[in-house]
């Protein structure tokens, strides 16, 4: 009776014993994705077709202006504004974040006020404000407060021209946003890391610089990448105070020749190209600061397992 305990094994069982390598694997086919893609392609194609044939776009004009001197110069200034604002913004952001997290109540309050003020008012308003600084203070004076002693005095408009105003507005605003991102990043690092660093005899500054911040970078880099992309586009706002950036450059030309749409397309193409390049840079930065964490590759996740076979 119980001499052959497995004698009634169902036939499927024998299939399972075949070595997996001998069987063809049919990956799951994602039909829904294909259908959705086909529909989207159709719409995209018809939109592209309408653009290509629209005479108002004047593609020949776009091509003619795409690499014109004044455009390239505008691109250069836009890039310069982005880089300078982001550098000052990041350095200042770290400073404000550390102040906000410090145990000194005065520093905490100053940092809190700064962030509150600069995040609470529109960037466009701040830009105009810096642009019209001379209306608030006609002269800028360096001296000892509440005395008549002055070391130097300048005409505001000659010191804070449109470019300086643009840099000031963009950087000071970015400092506030960067501070919050850095603060979040620092907060994400386990308290035990600071304990370990302190126990080894590192000073607070050493621990912050070599232990906490490098780990916070993993959390800071992705949103700062987005900030950079946003900044690149926000530089266009300085056109309201004549900042000489890419948008200002094309505006001053289409104000004369009325080729508004093609010149805006020229600007848009440049913005797109630059933001794309930034995204690539961000990818490599994220990879660098993900070291030691074994992050899964995005590409693999997106494609799914079936393709990997």
């Amino acid at each position: 009776m119980n001499s052959t305990p497995t004698s009634t094994a169902p036939p499927e069982r024998s299939d399972a014993r075949v070595a997996p390598a001998d069987l063809e694997v049919v990956p799951l086919r994602h039909w829904g994705r294909w259908v959705a893609a086909a529909i989207m392609m159709l719409f995209a194609a018809s939109f592209a077709w309408s653009l290509a044939r629209n005479p108002n776009l004047e593609w020949s004009v776009v091509g003619e202006y795409l690499f014109k001197d004044f455009v390239i110069k505008g691109v250069g200034i836009t890039l310069m504004l982005t880089v300078v604002a982001m550098v000052i913004g990041t350095v200042g952001g770290v400073l404000i974040a550390v102040m906000r997290l410090s145990s000194n109540p005065v520093l905490q309050a100053i940092a809190g006020f700064y962030v509150w003020f600069f995040r609470g008012t529109p960037l466009l308003v701040q830009i105009i404000f810096w642009g019209f600084l001379a209306a608030l203070y006609e002269r800028l004076v360096i001296g000892i407060p509440f005395t008549d002693i002055t070391f130097a005095s300048f005409d505001t408009n000659s010191v804070v021209g449109p470019m300086t105003a643009a840099v000031l507005a963009l950087s000071l605003n970015e400092v506030a946003y960067a501070a919050e991102i850095v603060r979040g990043g620092i907060g994400s690092v386990d308290d035990g890391q600071d304990d370990a660093a302190s126990a080894l005899g590192l000073t607070k500054v050493q621990a912050m610089r070599t232990i906490t911040l490098p780990q916070a970078m993993r959390v800071i880099v992705p949103p700062m990448g987005n900030e950079t992309v946003t900044m690149l586009k926000s530089t266009a706002l300085v056109s309201v105070i004549g900042g000489k950036d890419l948008l200002t450059a094309v505006q001053s030309v289409y104000a004369q020749n009325y080729k508004v749409i093609p010149l805006l397309v020229v600007a848009a193409l440049w913005y797109l190209a630059l933001t794309s390049i930034l995204s690539i840079g961000q990818y490599f930065l994220e990879k660098k600061y993900g070291k030691g964490y074994g992050t899964a590759s995005m590409g693999r996740r997106w494609l799914g397992r079936g393709v990997a076979r």
């Binding site: 890391q193 304990d195 370990a196 302190s198 080894l200 005899g201 050493q206 070291k291 030691g292 074994g294």
Partner: protein
């Protein structure tokens, strides 16, 4: 060794001396007057139920927590303060950091630096704090890894090491500063049971090399085998202390008996 003249009758120097140490978090008093003495070369084990204040006391020894009363000295120096006449002056942060260099600490959750390899973890403080050359520090990191049974793991990141291996790297990291005193806060509590032994073996090796150690632990076997003295803490006080056989085998207090009957 420069002997302190006021040191007690024994000829071994005192490494840690705690007198009536008090500590509160907000309104709750966590340490209610702890007295404890650790002599150089001895292994002192702190045992007691969860929440009794063991970790807090250990963290006071290297000033990760400030104390609210009593006094605490390591190697003859007050921790975190300098005495001038009748006054205690709080040390500057940089002076506190300098004091901590001579006290190694190993944590329950390892706290390795995840963005650094094993060797970088070990070299970091010697290079940054002591100003050792990278080359010398690197060689020493390799030696220390060998000492904790991890030869050849220099370039591995913590995430790629098992818990037991991470804790051994953490021990090597603390040793790299050549501290005369090592503090361990439940170094095996976060480990899978089969990995506990490898960490305890390293600690036993340290003890037999004459390292002065204060160990918070639930491993009664380790306390009995390696400990020179055992302190049983409950609710912020030292209930009883003595040799391992006194405290663990012939406890005098009900609280000790109740605790031991639960963990043994």
């Amino acid at each position: 060794m420069t002997a302190t003249d006021q040191s007690s009758t024994t000829d071994t120097a005192t490494m840690v001396e705690a007198l009536g140490v008090r500590k509160s978090f907000g309104r709750t008093e966590v340490l209610k007057g702890i007295d404890l003495t650790v002599r150089t070369g001895e292994v002192t084990c702190l045992v007691g139920p969860s929440g009794s204040g063991k970790s807090t006391f250990l963290r006071c020894i290297n000033h990760l927590e400030t104390i609210d009363g009593g006094s605490l000295s390591v190697n003859g120096h007050l921790v975190g303060y300098r005495r001038k006449g009748d006054r205690l002056h709080e040390l500057k942060p940089s002076e506190v950091a300098a004091q901590r260099r001579d006290i190694g600490m190993v944590f329950q959750r390892f706290n390795l630096f995840p963005h650094m390899t094993a060797a970088q973890n070990i070299m970091h403080a010697p290079v940054l704090v002591r100003g050792e050359s990278r080359k010398v520090a690197r060689e020493r990191a390799s030696q220390l890894l060998e000492r904790v049974g991890l030869a050849g793991r220099e370039n591995q990141y913590p995430a790629h090491l098992s818990g037991g291996q991470q804790q051994r790297v953490a021990i090597a990291r603390a040793l790299a500063m050549r501290p005369p005193l090592m503090l361990f806060d439940e170094p095996t509590s976060a480990l899978d049971p089969e990995l506990v032994g490898e960490v305890l073996d390293v600690m036993k090796g340290l003890a037999s090399d004459g390292m002065t150690m204060v160990v918070v632990t639930h491993e009664m076997g380790f306390a009995r085998e390696v400990g020179d003295s055992v302190y049983f803490m409950d609710d912020g006080v030292v209930v009883e202390s003595g040799t391992p056989s006194q405290v663990l085998e012939n406890p005098r207090h009900e609280r000790t008996k109740a605790f031991l009957s639960k963990v043994l």
